[in-house]
């Protein structure tokens, strides 16, 4: 699942992920609120849950960090199945610190999401987060 308000970035992300064969399907979602709703719906059929969530930080209405605090309230099956990776052009060390403090966040990745990064991502262990 790719959550990003910028249409171009969603497009780039989706194309690259599919081209690299990292995933067969990318759920592209424009806002954090919609993503939460979608995850709640998908949690009823855990097999349909995404294997990875790529989350932008700076978004209108609800930003990436707010999403993470609401994400905690989702059924635990979602936490088990869906590790989160933060995706941003932010250089603010506060943002990086905050992201790493969250138990759900596996990685902090700088945009743009290119092929090399995706290939690297495919190498790391994506086993579910503890707790």
């Amino acid at each position: 699942m790719l959550i990003d308000d910028t249409q171009v970035d969603r497009y780039i992300g989706e194309k690259n992920i599919i081209k690299c064969g990292m995933a067969e399907k990318v759920i592209c979602i424009e806002s954090a609120t919609d993503a939460l709703k979608e995850l709640l719906v998908l949690s009823e059929d855990p097999s349909s849950l995404p294997e990875l969530i790529l989350l932008d930080i700076r978004m209108p209405e609800m930003d990436g960090f707010e999403f993470l605090s609401k994400f905690e309230g989702l059924p635990s099956i979602v936490h088990e199945r869906c590790p989160v990776m933060m995706l941003s052009t932010s250089l603010n060390p506060e943002d990086i610190k905050k992201a790493e403090a969250s138990p759900f966040v596996k990685r902090f990745i700088n945009k743009p999401l290119n092929k090399e990064q995706i290939i690297n991502l495919m190498k790391i262990d994506l086993s579910p987060a503890e707790g």
């Binding site: 308000d5 910028t6 171009v8 970035d9 497009y11 780039i12 194309k15 690259n16 081209k19 424009e30 806002s31 700076r58 978004m59 209108p60 209405e61 941003s88 052009t89 932010s90 250089l91 603010n92 506060e94 943002d95 945009k111 743009p112 999401l113 290119n114 092929k115």
Partner: protein, 562 residues
């Protein structure tokens, strides 16, 4: 046995007593015994005369000695009278004549006894004019039989001024009439000078206390005021009467009572130590004043036996401090905002660029030509977004840095120019019907650059956030100018803004919606520009119905002509 003298007489006459007839012998015996008696009496008398003369002698001697002593005493007294520094004098009130005056007068006044005796008015003429009432009061007391003591100044013959202490007593005769009075005058110039020095010193200290900006009060252990310097009345804005015996706990703000009680407790437990405390009190008109005080418990010091408190009004200082604190927190806020600004700017500058980079990478990787055109379109949009963001930054920087200028504003021309530029803003949007109504009554002078910034932002927002479901999106722009201000209203029938968010929309980088590609700077810049122009902006909006922004900008023209 006959008396010896009688026997001698008989022998002279060659008479032998035994030869005499018995009658004669008896007579002779009687004579002899009488003689003996007489002789005894004479001897007694003689002895008594002798004794008396002895006593007389002794008495006479004693008298002589006493006379000598009296003479000596008189001599001493005279000597004393002649040489004593005090001047004694007696005045005959019947004849108003100086009976006598002691020679000390020469030293005290510079005039001789003879001069005083010759002129009964000399004495009074030496008294300083301003002290005459003191003397006259003394005399009037003496004349009714009272003793009197007074102090006054005289002018010595050598022009020097002397302080004298006069003691006067009157004498009454058998029929109750006052016939004379006696007086002693004493030179007390030295004492007076010492007294004056003490008084001057006291005055100096007093004026130090009174005129100091520090108030000084003495409190008892309950907080009741025993003494308050004049400066305390000034500082506390309370009359002396209301301070004395008033309890200081009564004028202190309730919030500060605990501080005061705590200070009092410390004072009582630690005699001699100084404690500082700052409390608020109510001033004369109910306003609150900050008082900073240093108190020392001197209950144990004899003559003071109080808590001595020095205090000062620190209202201004504390207000300034508060102001500084407020300024400081403003600065901190500005700093945080600036920090946020820098990161957001770098983020927002980099975001479209990273999109471009991603697209370029894709074009390179993917040689399929059919997607090329689409990709290039997206590159184009990203670059446009970056461009408009950089322009906003420029507007912001220009607004915060440059001084407000005064230009004549032609609203009609400006609005049509802005609308012309915005026509091709976003190809996805429908064409919006813009209706402009102008009521321009007078020359309107303001800052052209800033007016353009705020109109441009409001109109482009109205276009961006139009309601896609609305068949006839429209914007109405009304401008009313008067001598004093311009009233600008930009109203649309777009998507609107939730009331709960109205407070946030002017915040830096706050974005309400992801429908359009805003960067959260536009309304912040509008607000900043309005502030720079000393104007005001209000928003009225409801989701689904539309939004109205009303701006009022003062006309500098009227300010200049006034």
């Amino acid at each position: 046995m006959l008396n010896k003298l009688l026997l001698r007489q008989l022998q002279k006459r060659s008479i032998s007593p035994e030869t005499l007839p018995p009658e004669m012998q008896s007579l002779l015996n009687d004579i002899s015994s009488s003689y003996e008696h007489f002789n005894k009496d004479r001897e007694m008398l003689e002895r008594s005369i002798d004794l008396t003369s002895q006593e007389m002698k002794e008495l006479n001697h004693k008298l002589k000695q006493e006379t000598l002593e009296v003479k000596k005493a008189h001599e001493e007294l005279k000597n004393f009278f002649m040489n004593i520094e005090e001047v004694f004098y007696s005045i005959d009130l019947v004849n108003y004549k100086l009976i006598h005056i002691s020679p000390g007068c020469e030293k005290m006044f510079g005039y001789s006894q003879a001069e005083f005796e010759a002129n009964p008015h000399l004495w009074r003429s030496l008294i300083l004019q301003e002290d005459l009432p003191v003397y006259d009061e003394a005399i009037s007391n003496v004349l009714i039989g009272k003793s009197h003591i007074c102090c006054l100044r005289i002018r010595h013959l050598n022009k020097s001024i002397k302080w004298l202490e006069l003691k006067m007593t009157s004498h009454i005769n058998a029929s109750g009439e006052i016939i004379r009075f006696d007086g002693v005058s004493n030179d007390i110039t030295g004492r007076k000078e010492a007294e004056n020095t003490v008084k001057e010193n006291e005055n100096r200290f007093r004026s130090l206390i009174e005129n100091s900006n520090e108030g000084i009060i003495l409190l008892n252990e309950n907080g009741e005021c025993l003494f308050a310097s004049r400066s305390s009345e000034k500082i506390l804005q309370k009359p002396h009467d209301s301070l004395i015996s008033n309890n200081f706990f009564n004028i202190i703000l309730e919030e500060d009572l605990e501080t005061m009680s705590e200070t009092f407790r410390m004072l009582k437990e630690n005699p001699g130590e100084t404690f500082n405390c700052t409390v608020r009190i109510y001033g004369e008109n109910g306003e609150v004043m900050w008082i900073d005080s240093d108190s020392t418990n001197l209950m144990h010091v004899k003559g003071i036996e109080a808590i001595v408190t020095n205090f000062r009004d620190v209202t201004d200082r504390i207000n300034t401090l508060d102001l500084l604190k407020a300024k400081n927190s403003d600065l901190e806020k500005t700093n945080i905002e600036l920090d946020k600004f820098v990161y957001s700017v770098t983020h927002d500058l980099r975001a479209p660029l990273s999109s471009i980079l991603g697209l370029i990478q894709m074009v390179k990787d993917d040689n399929a030509n059919h997607e090329l055109e689409e990709n290039i379109d997206m590159i184009h949009a990203s670059v446009l977004k970056l461009d408009s963001f950089i322009q906003d930054i420029l507007d912001y920087a220009r607004n915060s840095r440059t001084e407000v200028r005064g230009d004549a504003i032609d609203f009609g021309e400006m609005i049509s120019e802005i609308c012309g530029n915005l026509k091709f803003m976003n190809r996805q949007n429908k064409q919006v019907n813009i209706v402009t109504k102008l009521h321009l009554t007078n020359n309107f002078i303001s800052d052209k650059g800033r007016i353009r910034i705020l109109l441009n932002n409001l109109i482009s927002n109205a276009i961006k956030y139009q309601n896609q479901n609305c068949p006839d999106p429209m914007i109405s722009i009304n401008v009313d100018t008067s001598d004093t201000e311009a009233d600008i209203v930009v109203k649309d029938n777009g998507i609107g803004i939730d009331k709960a968010l109205h407070d946030k929309i002017f915040d830096m980088f706050y974005r309400v919606s992801n429908i359009s590609s805003g960067n959260g700077l536009g309304l912040y810049i509008v607000k900043e520009a309005v502030n720079k122009l000393n104007g005001s902006i209000v928003v009225d909006s409801e989701p689904g119905k539309g939004t109205e922004f009303r701006i009022k900008i003062p006309n500098i023209y009227s300010q200049n002509s006034n």
